[in-house]
């Protein structure tokens, strides 16, 4: 038995408040203070509201067959990947 043949689909939704993770490119030695500052201020910092993530949750729920096995990465009302 497999789940798809039985009409069961699984999708992940990843709320994300940053389009990029600058720490991977930063030419500094990371420490806790720098890490916290990057997390707080890295542009473009698109804070996703709960309502915006809810849009992605509903989208995933309604399109389970199409999206099964995928992770929707979303921020600020946009689906990033």
């Amino acid at each position: 038995m497999d789940y798809q043949d039985k009409g069961i689909y699984a999708v992940g939704v990843a709320p994300n408040n940053m389009k990029t993770t600058i720490s991977k490119n930063a030419s500094v030695t990371m420490n806790q203070e720098i890490g916290a500052a990057i997390h707080a201020t890295t542009p473009p910092n698109i804070a996703a509201t709960a309502e915006e993530v809810a849009e992605a949750m509903a989208f995933a729920m309604k399109n389970g067959k199409l999206l099964t096995g995928s992770i929707i990465n979303c921020a600020g009302g946009q689906i990033l990947q």
């Binding site: 699984a10 939704v13 720490s23 993530v53 949750m57 389970g64």
Partner: protein, 173 residues
């Protein structure tokens, strides 16, 4: 008949916002949370928007509680068309060696075991009723972990892996 949706972590945040969005679209809702007062409030607010909604208090990491919310969903609405597996916790950022084992277990139990148990008990209902969709709330930490957030990142990697695996059952033949 409108679809029946179970949402865990429905008292606050993403779970509450999703519950209220779906309430406005006419879904029938089973709202699950450990926080009884806030969970009941979400159910009341969903009803004001026109939805049929019930609240079930549950600790998602407790197997008996999970069985209970699944049973109550079936009792109330006859089936589960969608399961929004959303409950999860995060703790303040810190270095990994500063976590104690008890805290590690608590995060793992809610974020990973809780998600697993929900799927485990929802799938038989879906199998019996012609299918359904499971949506797991993962995280940007499933792809790009932030510093000082090791245990949470581990839980969200686990949940992303679980989602990709069960979501692809059948694709590979």
């Amino acid at each position: 008949m409108n679809q029946a949706v179970v949402i865990t972590g429905a008292a606050t945040g993403l779970g509450r916002a999703t519950a209220l969005k779906l309430a406005g679209e006419g879904y029938r809702l089973v709202l699950v949370d450990f926080n009884e007062e806030a969970g009941k409030q979400t159910a009341e607010d969903a009803k004001v928007l026109g939805a049929e909604a019930i609240f079930v208090r549950a600790d998602v990491s407790n197997e008996e509680d999970v069985k209970k919310y699944v049973e109550e969903a079936v009792t109330a609405f006859g089936t589960i068309d969608a399961f929004l597996n959303n409950a999860g916790i995060m703790v303040p950022f810190r270095l990994l060696h500063e976590y104690d084992a008890e805290e590690y277990n608590r995060i793992m139990n809610i974020n990973v075991k809780g998600a697993f148990l929900g799927i485990k008990y929802v799938i038989p209902v879906m199998l019996e009723n012609g299918g359904g969709t499971i949506v797991n709330t993962v995280s940007s930490n499933s792809f790009k972990p932030t510093a000082y957030n090791g245990v949470y990142a581990a839980t969200k990697h686990a949940l992303a892996g679980l989602t990709k695996s069960i979501g692809q059952d059948g694709l590979s033949g």
